[in-house]
Subunit: 331 residues, 2 copies
């Protein structure tokens, strides 16, 4: 029996795939070559998570891989109707990014409460100017997106004494349903989005949403950029509907030098790095190798994406699904 | 019986002392007038914690207040041999600054691990440059100073998954003795000082100490500036003996515009604000009023400073004292 073909979408080689030697033929392709290579692949590893080549190449002719693994939490860049309708199993990198992203959010909350950006600006001017910070303990946060990333953010902020409400698609146990988002956001000091990009979350943070916030509130997005109507956020910041915002994700990445977002007062821009800590590529690669071993043995894979929903359902709500005919709210 | 005289050292009036109306005559003085006013005062409230007027005025002639309260955690600026030798009770503001300072430290640890200063600098240049952060969970910290501030820092960092060693004057239960500082610092990612300024802590962080650190380590000082030999820290940063430092306190405050410290690569300078969150002056004032009520009733005061040691001994080591003849190590 020939070794299965693992096709890796990336210009640069992932680390540590040497472990598959003797068990798989590992081939690499860039986005331009993907369509030609796809029919010969058993497994597709989407290592370049910034590429939308899969979405473009998938609808073409010929057989398709039986398993596609995304080395990312979100799968919005590669999901297309044809992949969703196919028998191909789609998995993601659940387990890798939760803690780093939660730490990043906690760091932003603390740094903004203590006004660290102003401290750094005053240092450049050699100015000693004492100011009062905000206490984080006792402040109120709403975390939108009740997947593993949102839950880890909730856990870490709770440990800092923040009163956190977690909002998911539907209410269950300690999670609020999306219908509670407005009233919760209206009382929040921090609104944090960790939603995947789905039809239901596309543009959900718009002028109407920002209009609900307290003028002292801050908005942080570590989910997906297109869930925010960026022009509305800029407008809301300029009108001081909220006190500040931090975006790690954007509708178009990388953000171009000409983007107006770089210079909006009160807006902190970071280059989609919240989940990426030293060694993250090794961890992603090890995760894929471990999953490949299961796949090669015919065992069930973890982290299987519900291709209709566009994310991996949490264990505690996979039971719900059968009772629902359609479901496109944020998770 | 006439109302006791409460003399407040500050150019600006503290808030909420109106609550003492009918129970005390509240007088104010600036540093220049202190010596003349001191003999007529029953209680001295040192509201201006940046002043060293007490140290200058106390040795003069005449009666002295029976109680001096410092609206600060450290009492190094006002303690003098004559006050230490007197029967006057000295108290501090224990209870007000612990949580804000611990949050500030946690914010610095997270912000530095995630390289937030570089993110802000790149934003000013409109440059999208992805980088990898460090995971805070699992990193190692040493907190020097086992008083209530050091303990709260330890608690908060522990909650973020940091492996924290707390170093005090003498080993007891979960606290390491000062003799362990070197070996612990040599393995630490973070060294955080929350020591009071005493003869034993003056200049304790010097070239020899910085020479012990890992090149990846960062040093944070929220204690007192003069515990650090600032020239040695600058030299150590320039030689890359450590990766970075953040100072909130300095030997001379406010830091002058000409200070070389403003522009040391890898050094974050903040204007002694780590403990100061919105409402802190109110909380300090309420604490004093509550203590005044005890004092007026002849009840024992909390937060009594051991004037030989220079800080309020923790409950769990006040028993040690009788067994020791001298004790000037950091706490």
């Amino acid at each position: 029996m020939p070794e299965p073909v693992v096709l890796v979408l990336d210009a640069d080689p992932p680390p540590r795939l040497g472990r598959l030697t003797g068990r798989a033929r590992v081939l690499r392709t860039d986005g331009a070559g993907l369509a030609d290579r796809l029919p010969g692949a058993d497994v597709l590893l989407v290592w370049d998570f910034t590429s939308d080549a899969v979405r473009r190449a998938w609808p073409g002719e010929g057989p398709r891989p039986r398993w596609v693994h995304a080395a990312s939490a979100g799968v919005d860049r590669l999901l297309c109707p044809e992949l969703a309708a196919s028998g191909t199993v789609l998995t993601n990198a659940r387990g890798i990014f939760e803690r780093p992203i939660a730490e990043y959010v906690a760091g932003l909350v603390l740094a903004l409460a203590k006004d660290l950006p102003t401290t750094l600006a005053l240092q450049r001017e050699r100015r000693w100017h004492h100011r009062e910070g905000q206490q984080v303990a006792g402040s109120r946060a709403v975390v939108v997106g009740a997947g593993p990333i949102g839950r880890e953010i909730t856990r870490l902020l709770h440990g800092l004494g923040v009163q956190v409400a977690l909002v998911g698609r539907t209410a269950r146990r300690t999670i609020h349903g999306i219908e509670d988002l407005g009233p919760l956001a209206a009382r929040a000091d921090w609104v944090i989005s960790a939603v995947p990009l789905t039809p239901a979350t596309y543009g959900m943070f718009d002028a109407r949403f920002f209009g609900l916030l307290q003028p002292s509130a801050r908005f942080i997005n570590v989910g997906r950029g297109a869930s925010v109507v960026e022009a509305d956020l800029v407008d809301a910041l300029n009108r001081r509907w909220l006190a500040g915002a931090a975006l790690d994700v954007f509708a178009d990445e990388p953000l171009g030098e000409q983007s107006p977002l770089w210079e909006v007062p009160g807006l902190l821009v970071s280059p989609h790095l919240s989940g990426d800590t030293v060694g993250w590529r090794d961890r992603l690669s090890e995760q894929f190798v471990a999953m490949y071993e299961l796949w090669a043995e015919g065992e069930p894979l973890p982290n299987v994406v519900d291709k209709e929903r566009g994310y991996v359902p949490s264990a505690d709500n996979s039971a719900e699904k059968s009772a629902e005919t359609e479901d496109t709210s944020p998770e």
